[in-house]
């Protein structure tokens, strides 16, 4: 019986105008989006290679004096994510590079400055197409799945037979989903073939598994929207009513809820801007540096007050030894204190931001599209996880450079009681070849799943709950 319903649904969809239209949309848009984004990825990759080459060249003959004088910028570039051609996520919003110095890492500009205003509303990529176009068509496919049969009376004819109502619903879901999945997946495969011709590294690393997960997640989202549409269709007596309801649901899930989630979270947990935090950090650092300079000046004056002229330059004099040891201790204290205070500011900021982001994520999970968007962005290496990994890499690289490069340069500023300020430098030789290379660890597929447990749970819930509602309503439906 189930097979009969599935077959009927498939045939009905295939014979309708919707099926060829949907197939055409998929076959044109999906490969086109992959083709365009592959070309953009290739361009980003070339830019990245060129920037890396220039950066390598700059650091080859690096001298500590260059660092001291600020002549060399130590930069860490963000490598483009290959699978960003499927879901761009934060790819263009993240800083292209971070610049490292003794005072910490500062972010460079992002690629989003090159984009048009319209692209800010959603990038034309595979994930966008699935969310905005394919899911809308999925909803439209199911809009008349039950209400259409109610209206035309075929439901009466069907249910006059020995046909359980759950079989009707299951058959409709399976048949409807197959009618959507087949052209969608064919278009997806066509797009992949196009990528192969475009020399995209389709079979390198974990790409095949990630692409398979991407296809499966997309198929799941299409099914979810189909079931949501069917839930509406079981509740509506007329196709027109379900169409209106479906369009409202689509607009809410795609456009309103994801944005509203971010806005509500920002309202509930306001977070300072990065500029405010940077200013606070700079203020703290300056205050500590000034205090250290005053203390060093005071100590220097006390030690060398009664000493003969030139004693300060005699490395073996007891005053110089005492000064060296005292300066080391003061500078170490200041460095540690500064690091502690700046880390505390960063930590507080991160905590506040994490709390806001978590709330935004939780709120956005009301929309299956948002849950899908977060998951696929992480699978493609362009989501929250990639951003976190990038920031971790920046922090870790800064630490490594502090140890390997910046600590080799010692700068002593003293503010004397007389109001005079003096500055002294000490530098140890550095082998540029031994300097750590900036690298961003790629999040594994397992990490993407782990990070998105809530999103996946939301998707599963969005599949089960509408079906359960549809079933409950359809069971109680009086056929008249």
């Amino acid at each position: 019986m189930l097979k009969t319903i599935i077959r009927k649904e498939l045939l009905e969809n295939i014979f309708s105008y919707r099926f060829p239209l949907f197939s055409l949309i998929c076959v044109i848009l999906i490969p086109l989006s992959l083709f365009i984004n592959n070309a953009q990825y290739a361009k980003r990759l070339r830019d990245y290679g060129e920037q890396m080459r220039l950066s390598e060249e700059a650091t080859t003959g690096l001298k500590v004096q260059d660092v001291m004088a600020g002549r060399v910028a130590m930069k860490g570039f963000h490598p483009p994510a290959p699978l960003s051609i499927f879901a761009q996520g934060f790819e263009n919003a993240l800083p292209r590079y971070y610049q490292f110095s003794q005072d910490g890492a500062t972010q460079g500009e992002s690629s989003s400055g090159d984009e048009s205003l319209l692209s800010v509303q959603g990038k034309f990529d595979f994930a966008f197409l699935v969310q905005m176009v394919v899911c809308l068509i999925g909803l439209l496919f199911s809009s008349d799945s039950i209400s259409g049969e109610k209206e035309s009376g075929t439901l009466r004819a069907m249910l006059s037979n020995r046909l359980p109502r759950d079989v009707v619903l299951l058959g409709k879901v399976t048949g409807g989903a197959l009618s959507l999945w087949v052209p969608f997946l064919l278009a997806f495969v066509l797009g992949l073939l196009l990528l192969l011709f475009g020399s995209f590294p389709l079979f390198t690393g974990g790409a095949p598994a990630r692409i398979a997960v991407l296809a499966a997640a997309s198929a799941l989202l299409i099914l979810i929207y189909f079931v949501i549409g069917m839930m509406v269709s079981t509740s509506a007596a007329k196709v027109r009513t379900s169409l209106v309801a479906i369009l409202l649901i689509w607009a809410g899930f795609q456009l309103v809820i994801p944005k509203l989630g971010d806005m509500t979270a920002a309202l509930i947990y306001p977070v300072r801007t990065e500029t405010q935090v940077a200013l606070e950090k700079s203020l703290v650092a300056n205050t500590l540096d000034t205090e250290a300079a005053k203390e060093l000046g005071r100590q220097y004056d006390a030690i060398f007050e009664n000493a003969k002229p030139g004693t300060g330059d005699d490395l073996n004099s007891p005053e110089r030894k005492k000064w060296d040891s005292l300066r080391e201790r003061i500078q170490l204290d200041v460095r540690e204190n500064k690091a502690r205070q700046l880390a505390a500011i960063d930590e507080t900021f991160e905590q506040q931001r994490r709390r806001q982001r978590n709330l935004a994520i939780d709120l956005s999970l009301i929309s299956p599209s948002a849950a899908f968007g977060r998951f696929v962005a992480d699978v493609c290496g362009t989501g929250d996880l990639a951003r976190t990994k990038y920031l971790e890499a920046v922090r870790s690289h800064q630490k490594a450079l502090d140890n390997e490069l910046f600590s080799k340069v010692k700068r002593t500023i003293m503010m004397h009681a007389s109001g005079r300020t003096t500055m002294a430098f000490q530098a140890q030789p550095v082998d540029p070849k031994k300097l750590p290379k900036f690298a961003v660890a790629e999040a594994s597929l397992g990490e993407a799943f782990k990070e998105n447990i809530r999103s996946l749970a939301a998707l599963v819930l969005w599949l089960i709950a509408p079906f359960a509602v549809a079933y409950a309503r359809f069971r109680k439906y009086d056929v008249r």
């Binding site: 019986m1 009969t4 009927k8 045939l11 009905e12 014979f15 309708s16 035309s152 009376g153 075929t154 009466r156 004819a157 069907m158 249910l159 006059s160 037979n161 020995r162 046909l163 359980p164 009086d478 056929v479 008249r480």
Partner: protein
């Protein structure tokens, strides 16, 4: 044993309207029972209750002894249904529609020829067999509807105003098929407004008014009575259960 039986059957809708008021009815194999009555008299509600489309407020429907409310799926094995506007899938051909409903009716091993044969039996034009039904006339749709009932080969057939809107020739052809089915031993319950055809096909005719069966006559009784006059008289009078 009657194939169709309504026992003290009542239906009150959520809005408070009493659509059916303690109906008692039996239809035996080889018998055609015609329900006459104005719109809202309770004819379609009776059929809907037999098909378990709606639950009864009180009473029970039986199809071949099976309580429709308790075991609707088992009961539906023994009944075929033809509605006023036969509902078909417009994008399917006549044969595809017939095949789909035949499979729902449990006939899974039929060949294309079997379907063609049934359609020939109900006098559907040969060229229409593989045509999409969206352009079919009402008469053609009714023929296809009755072919769905024929192919199911159920012992009971419920018809909800099947001749309404048909031209006289098509209605006549339709009744001929019904007569054949009756002669094969099917129990037929037909709701209709068509007094003349009710008299022609019905072994018994019942008149319903405001949910009650107010009159019942056998074919023999109607030989010497004017059904039109009886009908009009009952429509004017206060309803009293027959």
């Amino acid at each position: 044993m009657p194939i169709l039986k309504a026992e003290d059957l009542s239906k009150r809708y959520e809005d408070g309207v009493l659509a059916l008021d303690h109906l008692n009815l039996e239809v035996r194999g080889g018998e055609a029972y015609c329900l006459l009555g104005a719109n809202g008299a309770g004819k379609t509600t009776t059929i809907n209750l037999f098909l378990n489309f709606i639950p009864p407020t009180t009473g029970t429907c039986y199809i071949r002894g099976t309580d429709v409310t308790r075991d609707p799926l088992e009961a539906k094995k023994y009944v075929a249904f033809v509605s006023e506007n036969v509902m078909l899938y417009g994008n399917f051909t006549a044969r595809q529609n017939l095949e789909f409903f035949a499979k729902l009716g449990g006939k899974t091993n039929l060949t294309k020829n079997d379907y063609y044969q049934v359609m020939r039996r109900v006098s559907l034009q040969e060229k229409a067999f593989e045509q999409r039904v969206k352009n079919f006339s009402k008469g053609m749709r009714q023929k296809l509807g009755i072919s769905i009932a024929v192919i199911k080969d159920a012992p009971a057939i419920l018809l909800d105003e099947p001749t309404s809107g048909l031209d006289p020739k098509a209605a006549e052809e339709f009744l001929e098929i019904l007569a054949e089915l009756k002669s094969e031993g099917k129990a037929i319950l037909m709701s209709t407004h068509d007094i003349f055809r009710a008299k022609e096909i019905g072994d018994r005719v019942g008149i319903m008014k405001e949910g009650r069966l107010v009159m019942e006559r056998t074919r023999e009784e109607l030989q010497c009575e004017d059904l039109v006059k009886i009908y009009i008289d009952y429509m004017k009078s206060e309803p009293q259960t027959a």
